[in-house]
Symmetry: C2
Subunit: 213 residues, 2 copies
Amino acid sequence: MDLPNVSAADEVPTRIQARNREAILSAGREVFARHGLRGATLDEIARTAGMSKPNLLYYFRRKTDLYKAVLEEVLADWLSPLHALDPEGDPVEELRRYIVAKMQLSNMHPQASRLFAGEIIAGAPNIHGFLSTELRDIVARKARTIEAWVAQGRLAPIDPHHLIFAIWAITQHYADFDAQIRAVLGDRAGRPGFREEAAEAVLGLVLNGVTPR
Amino acid sequence: MDLPNVSAADEVPTRIQARNREAILSAGREVFARHGLRGATLDEIARTAGMSKPNLLYYFRRKTDLYKAVLEEVLADWLSPLHALDPEGDPVEELRRYIVAKMQLSNMHPQASRLFAGEIIAGAPNIHGFLSTELRDIVARKARTIEAWVAQGRLAPIDPHHLIFAIWAITQHYADFDAQIRAVLGDRAGRPGFREEAAEAVLGLVLNGVTPR
DNA sequence: GATGTTCTTGACTGTTTGGTCAAAAACGAA
DNA sequence: TTCGTTTTTGACCAAACAGTCAAGAACATC
């Protein structure tokens, strides 16, 4: 009787619901990441998920519902490494851990990163609230942590917000601009140790950049 | 008699052609940057350019023709600052100039940067040739320059390709993720001196990162 | 001002798109 | 097996879409 895509008071989903929802979210991630909300088509997402379009719409009534569901899934992952930045730890060691975590995320979920990038490039119409509240708050908190480290002379003097932006930019670049990196580097980008090599280079640059002289 | 959008053997364009082509390219830049090739509509581009859709199609016969024209315009600008990196100059000073040039580009043509980013995120289907030839060649050449500087001990040891990627990532981030930066920083991102402050922070981080200890 | 050319657009076409619906198929508890 | 529920889909619809066309309006050259 009830539709499966009611947002509140969900009953336990059936196995079929769990499997199909996951297949649709995965397909949506892929297609939305490549073409954005407007460029993606439900036909392509349904085909990727291996089902008919009406069946997809049985689980997500509207295109935007699916898009928002995919986006929300991504946001949680996206934010979590920043929480771990510990004011009590060693500054350089904490930043190393943060960068490593972001590089791993970039390697393991490149589509999530690209989806997020596309949403921002489009002007962030669907996540402006999140950006200007939750994200803003945690960034402000972590910026104060970094600021304190700088004030103590344990980090080179740098504006903490711009440092955070730089780390986001560099780490996400490896996911978002993957096609460009592959085109420029050729085989080298596909070789086994490439991810580690990239992480090594990024750590070398940024950590050297924030270490006081 | 002749159509104005023939690609070869162009005669001198009339004033009307010059004005309308420019209006269309500008509108295309704006709409394609926001929504990508598939997400953009000719109706919206025509409306933005202040003309009817058939009139737009009189200047560019197909949507993809316009997209490629906009993209090509962007690529030339995008590449030019890299040419200026002079092997004979002082390494840190050369990198400073390159970063400043890229930051200015990011500030002055954010839509161009976002358009480019969207194309790469979509898998670079329309510029793969450019990336794997022209871009690849010049990057390889400049990487050798940086490598020589490192070998001479005038730069901290860093993989030159990853250094270039990092500079691209950070500088373009200020254009591509503008919406996020504004949401996170609030008023501060709109204040007069913000661009210079950002450039200062980026220079501080990267130049400190590449300076040998 | 006549005339050939360039520019512009309303009306249109065939296709793709997001979304609906009714009915069939598969499922699950008894 | 029975029967109510969940899941699936072919057929369909209205709107949006890229692109066409013929004819009119503006322009330029004489």
